[in-house]
Amino acid sequence: MNQAHAAAATRSVTMVRTVIIVATLAAWEALALSGLLFRDVVPSLQAICSAVFRLLTAADFYFNLGVTAAEIGVALIIGGAGGLAVGILLGANRFLSRAYESLVYYLGPTPKIIFFPVMIMWFGVGSGSKIAMGAISCFFPIAISAASGIRQIDRVLIRVGLSFRASTWQMATKIYLPAMRGPLVNGMRLGLGVAIIGTLLAQTKLSNRGLGYLIIQAYSTFDMPRMYALIIVLFMLAVAANALIGRLARSRNS
């Protein structure tokens, strides 16, 4: 009975989703055909689909995807390591936390793009400044999650480790990190999101490669189908990356 109920609920959710997607696509197509808007601003679905196909079969897309992925990856590593270190210090040391934690909290949500000119001066117009933007962006959510993660560790688990005479390294890898895993994965997820934003935004501002650059290039040459194709592909990739981290968080051993 209950199971039948659940199955029915799942079916109606799928139904609603399908209806909304189909309706949106139909409205889009109608708008495109009506010619109400400026020519080409709303290209037809067919034009977008073939643009997606052309995009995915061209080598330059993969080159630029690689550039963006590498920049985001390096940004996550640098910003993540920095955020983790600072977060652990803030979480473990009451004095440092009183001195700096509010600063981290207030800086966290401010738009990091205002630092972009500085980053260009420091790290040049190439990948360096893009990585810096991504790293600054993901530093904050990861630092904040690590600080709260370390504070929510059950103190007795630390005493267990000490009573078995674990070394500092063993304490860190066998107790602190696994005990902080939930908040850390969450921080990584938020961090990934803002690292993508930071890096792409920087690429759209000043760059000659990367997906952000491709989008802005498509825009400035008024190639709307290509621009939409890029946006759609990028959106899918971001969703996939998030889902991957989400799966990491939910997997057993948590």
Binding site: D154, V156, L157, R159, V160, G161, L162, S163, F164, R165, A166, Q170, K174, I175, P178, A179, R181, N253, S254
Partner: protein
Amino acid sequence: MLEVNRISKRFTTSDGVIPAVDDISFAIAAGEFVSIIGPSGCGKSTLFNIIGGLVGDYEGQVKVSGDIIHGTHPAIGMVFQEESTFPWRTVLDNVAFPLEISGLATSERLERAQHFVSMVGLEGFERRYPAELSGGMRQRVALARTLASEPRILLMDEPFAALDEQTRLLLGDRVLQIQQQLRQTTLLITHNLTEAVQLSDRVLVMTYRPGKLKREIDIDLPHPRDSEVVSSDAFGRYVAEIWHDLREEASRGIRDDENRVLRARSDR
């Protein structure tokens, strides 16, 4: 084997200075099972942590086999009052933890861990996570984990405090069997009269603020014992005798709590 020599520890709090442990001395012979009993808040856990080397800055000395120790010591194993299993490890991996710390190879480690899992009666639960077990089972995992480090001296801080009476009696049997088997020197901290008399060769009664030793009672009940012993006359006499000493301390503790609540209320 274990010697505690004139240990004192004070805590300074906003309420003033609390003499948590005040000039406590005792010695436990090899293979002996000793309990310390006292009302809650009398300083039992503080003493436990001092002996285990997790609390510093105290007066007096802790000696193992005649040597003064500072900090943690490999001969001492601790079982904590709080829920202390690692929720991200299976039962077997929890128990293998100390062996992992000492760098034992995986296969040998798991084999040894398995031995201690069986010893506490948890065969069949090796692959379970703590969240899937009952409180009593989790405490057994914690006990097995400490046993796996093969300490010569076993310290336990109210390990069964959170369990119901039946589970507590049966686990007590299990602990006694293991102690007979391994001949471990054991110090059990408890606030439970039955538990203290059921398990111990000797019971030390602690006072409430300052935390001093008030009395020492030898428990002359035959070995091997099991939980059936609780219905014997001699058992009842020991419990009554210890309660006589403990009663005054416990009521002082309760009065203190009440006063604190009243004071907090009048402050508002």
